[in-house]
Symmetry: C2
Subunit: 318 residues, 2 copies
């Protein structure tokens, strides 16, 4: 059998330019890609666990700024954005599917894109189990993530008297965008958080095990995410702006409106052992407020007085 | 609580233009949409079954022709294209996620798009369990389908001595595209097959129960699909062109190169009760050839002589 034919057999795909591109991806991904090459992926979901699944599209002009980030960084971020939704449910990654729309001229970037995806996949121990390649005039990635959990944490369990906590430090992405828009380079620490966010998967499972009642990832900004939890739980989230942890050099009002942070916002029983979390993960966990009975909204306080804040990032705001 | 606040609580999403669009979709989908509004969908996979999952992107310029089809038909077809991958594994639908990239100007078509998706979802008894809305300058839909199966049928089980069968009649999509490109209207029966394909889900499960050894849906054309099965199984698929069922008025050579048929190609044990299939589903099931030992390729015969055929639709062919 010829080398081509062996390669076709190994991937379960016949000849063709599209299938050659897929073979190139599969070869590059190595053991990070599992079971590609049939019409669908086949996975085992452990008995006693629920399946958790989410899909997330990153579009050229909205999410990607190729003059700001390398193609590999763009692909890494798009993959993390999806994985972060598994963290938001306290789920354990099971596998991901990558639907990529590529310009023909982008075939040269394919390796860099593949490497960015694989890096995020490997860091999360989440194999690539399927995907789809299309041609279009804009680069776009839709990443679908599958996970499992014995008890997923939703947005709806927040109850009066609980604490509100947030992981890490906010503001890096917002300050990076501000610098890029001004035509300058962001501070390295800010750029690092923008280019290389980390899905807080193990942190989320720790919070779930510690009794978190509501959990959400900060993809659209702390303000709208807090409002989602408030809406779903039917409670007021009273958040002290002064307590919100921000990176050095970042402005707190910009930081709480900033999307794509991929930190976690959680409501937890009072008395949570914050120090144990910090010892385990070497990132901050900060109490920023309390859940109260009342209007289902997020109330932001500064020096005890309520302040009005804009709603954060909205794909469709005018 | 105000009406808005009640609505926010019901969907688990706070205020915002993007979230209003999602609420509008959820309202329009009614009982076809299940459990939307958290960071991820949570599903039960029945014990003893495997999870089957696939993702499929339909991009404006490649898959959609808005001057040929209505927005609702485009969305219906995009959804069927994904569901057809579940059929190709003989899986039972569990749920689907819709990642839509919309131009702002398309908000007016959102209801029609939503209805097309819902029609395909309802016909397949496959609830919409999640999704993502992005803004871009091209309409694009990525549909991820989840299914279950006790024994998924892959491409790799074809063995010498088995029969090759195909469901339905081919050629409608190709003849429709030919007519549209010539600036005329296709024959109504051809247009119907192009605009309203049907995922052969129950038919696939029947074939699996009847012992099908390899199964694939004809999304790229009979020729490349037969080559995929041959490559994955390490056998020759010898197919008699004269036996391939084509619609009245369709040309067989065009039909076997035609993508987006969404009929099934299967290898089955000899002696399969074709009549029982036809009685059950009221569509044709036709023997078109035999699996033979030999080079892993599809050999097309006409009057006993081998003919060379082009490879069918390839997103990335030059």
């Amino acid at each position: 059998m010829s080398r081509d034919r062996e390669n076709e057999r190994a991937t379960g795909m016949g000849p063709g330019v599209e299938f050659d591109l897929i073979r190139r991806l599969v070869a590059r991904w190595g053991s990070t890609a599992v079971g590609l090459g049939d019409d669908a992926a086949v996975l085992d979901v452990p008995p006693g666990t629920k399946l958790v699944v989410s899909t997330d599209t990153s579009v050229d002009l909205v999410h990607f700024r190729s003059d700001w980030l390398t193609p590999g960084e763009c692909a890494y971020r798009a993959t993390v954005a999806a994985l972060s939704d598994l963290a938001a449910m306290a789920a354990e990654p099971l596998g991901m599917l990558i639907a990529a729309t590529l310009q023909s001229s982008l075939a040269g970037d394919l390796d860099a894109l593949a490497d960015g995806i694989a890096e995020a996949a490997r860091a999360a121990s989440c194999p690539i189990v399927g995907g789809d390649l299309s041609r279009g005039d804009r680069l776009s990635l839709t990443v679908t993530v599958l996970g499992t959990s014995t008890q997923p944490v939703r947005r709806s369990g927040a109850a009066a008297g609980q604490d509100i906590v947030v992981t890490g430090e906010l503001g890096g992405p917002a300050e990076s965008v501000r610098a890029f828009l001004a035509g300058t380079q962001p501070a390295p620490a800010h750029r690092e958080r923008f280019a290389r966010p980390v899905p807080r998967l193990a942190e989320a499972r720790w919070l779930a095990a510690a009794g978190a009642t509501a959990l959400i990832d900060i993809s659209d900004g702390l303000v709208p995410e807090a409002r989602h939890v408030a809406a779903a739980s039917g409670v007021t989230l009273a958040i002290d702006l002064g307590a919100v942890p921000v990176m050095q050099g970042a402005d707190v009002r910009t930081a709480v409106a900033s999307g794509e942070e991929y930190e976690l916002l959680a409501t937890v029983p009072p008395g949570l052992d914050v120090d144990a979390f910090v010892r385990e993960f070497q990132i901050r966990l900060t109490r920023i407020g309390r859940v109260e009975a009342g209007e289902p909204t997020a109330a932001f306080l500064e020096g005890g007085a309520r302040v009005d804040l804009p709603g954060g990032y909205d794909h469709f705001s005018p």
